[in-house]
């Protein structure tokens, strides 16, 4: 058979991961920004701007987990044991922030507790996801297709930095989303914090870029000795950062969010270019990690048919809930 199923699946999983990062990124980011919001009214707006769609956003994460099990089981069965404690922290965070969507509006006296649950849940889940990125760059101790390292191997100064970096990144997605969806003093606050968040993201981005070659010699070789075409990704990411800064200064409403999406996409592509085609670093490629071809094919048939439908009705729900979320109005 001439079609490389593993290649197609790598593209699909890669698409699923970036969909998750972009979509759940902005609603997790709102949670990170929660304690800094000027008042309780702004928090209502922040929550209402994502209440109808957050559940769908988070479903991409579940697809990522199930899709990996279906297409690249080695990734699933190595990453999860290796990141055992981190995965638990992420899930606990997602649980608390998830229920606070329903419970916060049912509570007045205890609302501050649900504010905390939403904020800490989002922050911890994001940090854990960022640490996963760092751990992926570092690589895993794998022997005979099984993880053999310790419980906290994933937690190093480098992964702490990537964890904090993703927190800044998601917060930036959140603040630019808020610019798009809010007005008045809430929007003005979002305009004020966005440049600071952008600066934080760029600082971490810079440190990680300098540090990564030290953590992983393969990555250094990739960037220094091989095709120089991949340098386009960081350059395009920088262009997006510039566009973002300009759009915020001019108080444009839609462009900041779009530019942040671009910043994320090009950084992500740069990361993939650093590692490709290794999927369980340092040793296993997408072909080593693949499930049986008949399983990949069985799933592919359905996914190619169903994912466009999913994207269509997801886009439709975003369309239904388009427009500004007004103070005091809410969907609740």
């Amino acid at each position: 058979m001439s079609i490389d199923l593993s290649l197609i699946w790598a593209a699909i999983i890669g698409f699923g991961v970036i969909m998750y990062v972009l979509m759940d990124g902005f609603d997790l980011g709102l949670g990170i920004l929660f304690p800094f919001a000027p008042d309780e009214e702004s928090r209502d707006v922040m929550m209402n701007s994502v209440a109808p769609v957050w559940d769908g956003n988070e479903t991409w994460l579940v697809l990522g987990g199930a899709g990996l099990l279906g297409a690249f089981p080695l990734v699933y069965s190595v990453f999860l044991p290796a990141l055992y404690i981190g995965v638990f922290l992420m899930l606990a965070g997602l649980i608390f922030r998830g229920i606070s969507f329903e419970f916060r509006f049912k509570s007045k006296k205890n609302r501050r507790w649900w504010n905390r649950a939403f904020c800490w849940g989002s922050a911890i889940a994001t940090f854990a996801q960022g640490a996963v990125v760092g751990a992926y760059i570092q690589g895993f101790a794998v022997e005979d297709f099984r993880y053999v390292g310790g419980a906290l191997d994933w937690l190093t100064p480098f992964t702490i930095l990537t964890g904090l970096g993703l927190m800044a990144g998601y917060a930036l997605l959140g603040s630019t989303w808020l610019i798009l969806k809010s007005e008045g003093h809430v929007q003005q606050w979002a305009y004020r914090i966005t440049p600071k968040l952008l600066l934080a993201v760029l600082v971490v981005f810079g440190i990680v870029s300098l540090w990564t070659p030290l953590v992983s010699p393969e990555v250094r070789d990739r960037w220094m000795n091989q095709i120089h075409l991949i340098w386009f990704f960081p350059i395009l990411a920088m262009v997006c950062a510039g566009a973002l800064y300009r759009a915020v200064k001019r108080q444009q409403e839609g462009l900041p969010f779009v530019a942040t999406l671009g910043l994320f996409i090009f950084t992500y592509l740069g990361l993939i270019a650093s590692k490709w085609p290794v999927i369980v670093p340092p040793n296993y490629t997408i072909w080593d990690a693949a499930s049986a071809p008949e399983s990949q094919l069985f799933l592919l048939v359905g996914v190619l048919f169903v994912i466009p439908i999913v994207l269509a009705y997801t886009a439709w729900t975003y369309w239904v809930f388009r427009g500004k979320v007004k103070v005091g109005e809410g969907y609740h």
Binding site: A51, P52, V53, D55, G56, E58, L61, V62, L63, G65, A66, G67, L69, G70, A71, P73, S77, V78, L80, P81, Y84, I85, F88, L91, L94, I95, F96, G98, I99, E102, F103, F105, K106, S107, K108, K109, N110, W113, F145, R146, Y147, G150, A151, S291, A292, E294, S295, F298, L299, G302, V303, V310, Y313, T314, T317, V320, F321, E329, Y331, H332
Partner: protein
């Protein structure tokens, strides 16, 4: 004592899956009920249906939220604690779980947003469509997950190559020998759960004379449903049992507390199984009845637990008693449904306070029955993870230590305790505020007609002590 990662992982999975299971089993039934209410309102324009739909959607939103967050945990649990199992079975379970996500989870999530928040943003027909899609999504989801579970109970359509399962026939694997029994049994359990909860809450409202018109309608519908479903479930359960006897005889032996392969087996009503001495104490049974039920002959031969070595026997006492809890509650459900019919004949079904109070107490019963049933089927499979092929010990994550497993076990118990207690607290608030709130709100909404009424999250815990302080 050395901490045992295997035991702790089994406890953890049992805890997480039990906690998770009670939410979907309720939301599957309730989603269909809400869609039906929306449909009835769309057709008749009787506002009573609309009030019911609004009220039950609020309940649904809270329960669904708890189901979603605990479900996310499930999708990672295979990898964290059972990575050898996940890797070995990935060729089957991976595609099945992925299909569940793309065909069901996205559908539920997207249309739930529209159902909860879209009332004034989409036309009424589209809103009804969203309610139907959420209900359809819950069923598609249960199809895939029960196929996966049934395959682990009665694996089919595969060959083993180097310790990994490779699927040779997707039809045989998906529609494995026990799938349909499990699927129908669980589907009916979901409707029974939804039916008993709605009946119980409606009865509670009727006892307090609140929105009598709407709640009479709701109770009446539920009682007809339960009258058909409760006895039918017993029949389906019997077929399921015969199927289990064919494919997992040891599990049935544990359910019956039958140690020896023998004829004329009595149906034990009470016994204390003693696994160490491979016998029962204090047996009280009906002669020949187990043989009659399982083989349809009074002197039929029934396989016993001693047909397999002791280390391949499931924990007999747990299976034996969970089975009795499930069946006992099932019989109680049939009795309640029949009493309902009797009272309806006499025209006293909405007035008999004892019956209404009984229905309120019965809210808890379907959840206990479902948990009992799952414990029977899951514990009864032990020590097998994939029946007859892979044991729990073989499926465990190799790098997992007892300390890690204990840490997360305690963590999940702590997190879920908070979720469950606050969830129950807010659910009782939602119910107590009930449908009156809607009517008051409708009157107060004249000034701000744009504000949707669906999922109205009016704060109402001001007068009460904190749930999570």
């Amino acid at each position: 004592m050395e901490l045992d990662p295997l035991l702790l992982s089994r406890l953890q999975f049992a805890f997480v899956v039990s906690f998770h299971a009670i939410f979907p089993v309720f939301t599957i039934g309730l989603a269909s009920y809400i869609a039906l209410l929306h449909g009835l309102f769309y057709k008749t324009e009787n506002p009573a249906w609309d009030r019911l739909a609004l009220f039950w959607t609020k309940v649904f939103a809270v329960v669904f939220g708890m189901g979603v967050v605990s479900g996310i945990v499930m999708s990672f649990q295979f990898g964290t604690n059972w990575s050898n199992f996940a890797y070995a079975t990935s060729n089957f379970l991976g595609p099945v779980l992925s299909y569940e996500v793309v065909t069901a989870f996205f559908l539920e999530a997207a249309f739930l947003g529209v159902l909860l928040f879209g009332r004034n943003k989409v036309p009424e027909g589209v809103h009804l469509f969203a309610a139907i899609m959420v209900a359809v999504g819950t069923f598609i989801s249960s199809f895939w997950i029960l196929s996966a579970n049934s395959w682990m109970q009665t694996p089919a359509g595969f060959e083993l190559i180097d310790g990994r399962f490779h699927i040779t026939s997707w039809m045989e694997a998906l529609f494995n020998p026990s799938f349909w029994y499990r699927f129908v049994h669980m589907g009916m359990a979901s409707f029974l759960t939804g039916g008993f909860v709605v009946a119980g809450v409606s009865a509670w409202f009727l006892l307090r004379k609140r929105d009598v018109e709407a709640n009479k309608k709701a109770l009446s519908m539920c009682l007809w449903l339960l009258l058909i479903l409760a006895p039918a479930q017993a029949v389906v359960g019997d077929f399921h049992g015969l199927n289990t006897l064919e494919h997992q005889p040891t599990k049935v032996a544990a359910m019956e507390g039958n140690w020896e392969t023998q004829t004329n087996v009595p149906l034990l009503l009470f016994a204390i199984p003693d696994q160490e001495s491979q016998t029962n104490h204090f047996e009280i049974g009906i002669p020949n009845l187990a043989s009659l039920i399982l083989t349809h002959r009074a002197d039929g031969e029934v396989p016993g637990l001693n047909a397999v070595p002791v280390e391949e026997q499931p924990p007999v006492a747990i299976v034996f008693w969970s089975f009795r809890v499930m069946v006992g509650i099932g019989l109680l459900m049939i009795a309640v449904a029949l009493v309902g019919l009797l009272l309806r004949r006499k025209g006293r079904v909405y007035e008999n306070r004892l019956f209404l109070k009984t229905l309120t107490v019965m809210i808890i019963s379907p959840f206990l029955a479902v948990l009992g049933g799952w414990i029977v089927t899951e514990s009864g499979r032990a020590p097998w993870l994939v029946y007859g092929v892979m044991t729990h010990a073989e499926g465990l994550t190799p790098s997992l230590t007892g300390g890690m497993a204990l840490f997360t076990l305690i963590g999940y118990i702590a997190v879920y305790s908070v979720v469950f207690l606050t969830g129950i607290y807010y659910l009782t608030r939602v119910v107590r505020n009930g449908m009156h709130e809607e009517q008051i709100e409708v009157e107060g909404e004249v000034e701000r007609p744009k504000r949707p009424l669906s999922a109205a999250h009016t704060p109402f815990d001001d007068d009460l002590e904190g749930a999570n302080a």
